[in-house]
């Protein structure tokens, strides 16, 4: 190797080391700029991928469309009825809270977003959504789907954000089990294989009386990212360990079919 090549090698290695010395905020700012530049390419890729997947699914027959329409109408009616009941319950809850002089619970604004791409790497679970700071999205905001909590935003660009999914080992949420005083920390698992994703709920009481089918919600710790009462999943299995109890939780949201999500923008 010539002397010039050795110098160039040293300079290239030095560049790598300089980047490694960046603070987290600076790295995130660089990533945000990279996402800004790549947004048109990612959106084009998403549109192309959507078209290919639609072609793969094939065209539906008239009978299939009629059946699908009937099912959707039935679902709309069911949701309307449930929503009406929810409205009544909300009004009653507000009345009772004010009678008890409780603090008014914060209302949140939901911003609809579409998933434009899924993570490439095997070690983290994340997706990119088509909303960024131009729509009011900020980092560390909860993201929901129709089923329940999906994850939280990390890096936010102008029209694109990265969402760390709940199926990631690093996305931890304070959770409580419905109908009990049990609270724990819920997270995903390190490497996701062929099986449907599952959560683990750790730091429960060793002698907790948990049964399969019990619902798990966010606990809403003060100063935390996630508001209280968002569905997380249902208990599948509970086992007592040496020091604490651990439950396996089946997710409320269907992570294999995530397409449309909602970003919780904060109090109105």
């Amino acid at each position: 190797m010539t002397k010039l090549n050795l110098i160039l090698l040293g300079v290239a290695a030095l560049v790598g080391v300089i980047f490694l010395g960046f603070s987290t905020g600076r790295m995130q700012a660089w990533q945000s700029r990279f996402l800004d530049v790549s947004t048109p390419a990612i959106h084009a890729g998403s549109a192309l991928s959507g078209k290919i997947s639609k072609l793969n699914k094939g065209l539906k027959t008239l009978d299939e469309l009629e059946a699908e329409n009937a099912a959707l109408v039935a679902e709309i009616n069911e949701l309307r009825a449930a929503n009406q009941l929810r409205g009544e319950l909300e009004a009653e809850n507000r009345r009772l809270r004010s009678a008890l002089d409780y603090r008014e619970r914060a209302e949140f604004k939901l911003l609809p977003a579409e998933i434009v791409s899924r993570d490439t790497d095997s070690w983290w679970s994340s997706v990119k959504i088509n909303r960024g700071f131009s729509a009011g999205v900020d980092s560390a905001q909860p993201v929901l789907s129709g089923g329940g909590l999906v994850g939280r935003t990390t890096t936010v660009a102008k029209d694109l954000s990265i969402v760390l999914l709940l199926t990631d080992e690093n996305c931890r949420v304070a959770a409580r089990v419905e109908g009990t005083n049990e609270q724990g920390i819920l997270s995903g698992r390190r490497a996701k294989g062929n099986a449907a994703p599952e959560f683990v709920l750790n730091f429960l009481a060793r002698d907790a009386k948990l049964e399969p089918g019990m619902k798990v919600f966010t606990a809403g710790v003060s100063g935390g990212v996630f508001p209280a009462g968002i569905p997380l999943g249902t208990i599948k299995e509970f086992r007592a360990r040496e020091l604490d109890g651990q439950a396996i939780v089946e997710p409320a949201a269907d992570f294999s079919k995530l397409e449309d999500v909602f970003v919780v923008l904060g109090s109105q």
Binding site: N5, V17, M27, W30, S38, T120, S122
Partner: protein, 180 residues
């Protein structure tokens, strides 16, 4: 020269495209990595200074695309892939003469090994960061699966890049003739 520019553009296109490629169900849903295959071709074909440029470009873009910020910290920081590509590229340069003779299998093998080393390195770093080591069949396939896929995909990239006019290989041959 055109081929060199195509290589630099291909790294960016591959980074965007690999997000839309389906997971590999027979390898425990591991994901396909295209950037190591493209970098390998460049490391075996480009002269040393241009290879370093490609290593900086590939490493920086890979890290920017895959940076995961959790709370106030990142598990694998910006710059790690630059160092990885710089050092593996330097090692691959020793095979440049053999590769210039049309040995496509060197590229295929190197792509597999590079992908394996990249993923194994990432996983070891994650385990060190999380202070727990966990290894099972899924983790094995998430490391070995993309490496095997790279081994089989590499020849397609090799013949694709050869469609573009080069320029550096001829220089390498001239250099070899001049060497006593």
């Amino acid at each position: 020269m055109i081929r060199a520019l195509v290589l630099f553009a291909a790294v960016y296109v591959a980074l965007i495209a690999q997000d839309f490629l389906p997971a590999l169900p027979f390898f425990a849903n591991a994901r396909l990595l295209l950037v190591p295959i493209i970098f390998c071709y460049g490391a075996l074909w480009l002269p040393f200074p241009a290879m370093l440029g490609l290593a900086l470009w590939s490493g920086l873009l890979s890290d920017l695309a895959n940076l995961h910020v959790i709370g106030d910290q990142v598990e694998i920081g910006l710059g790690w892939s630059i160092l990885f590509y710089v050092f593996t590229g330097t090692l691959l340069q020793t095979l440049r003469e053999a590769f210039a003779g049309g040995r496509w299998e060197i590229h295929a093998l190197a792509s597999g090994v590079l992908t394996l080393l990249l993923l194994a390195g990432q996983y070891i770093m994650i385990c060190l960061r999380r202070e727990s080591f966990y290894f099972d069949g899924t983790v094995f396939w998430h490391i070995a699966g993309p490496a095997i896929a790279a081994l089989f995909l590499a020849p397609f990239f090799y013949f694709f890049f050869r469609l573009f006019p080069g320029g550096f290989r001829q220089q390498a041959r001239r250099g070899r003739r001049l060497t006593p």
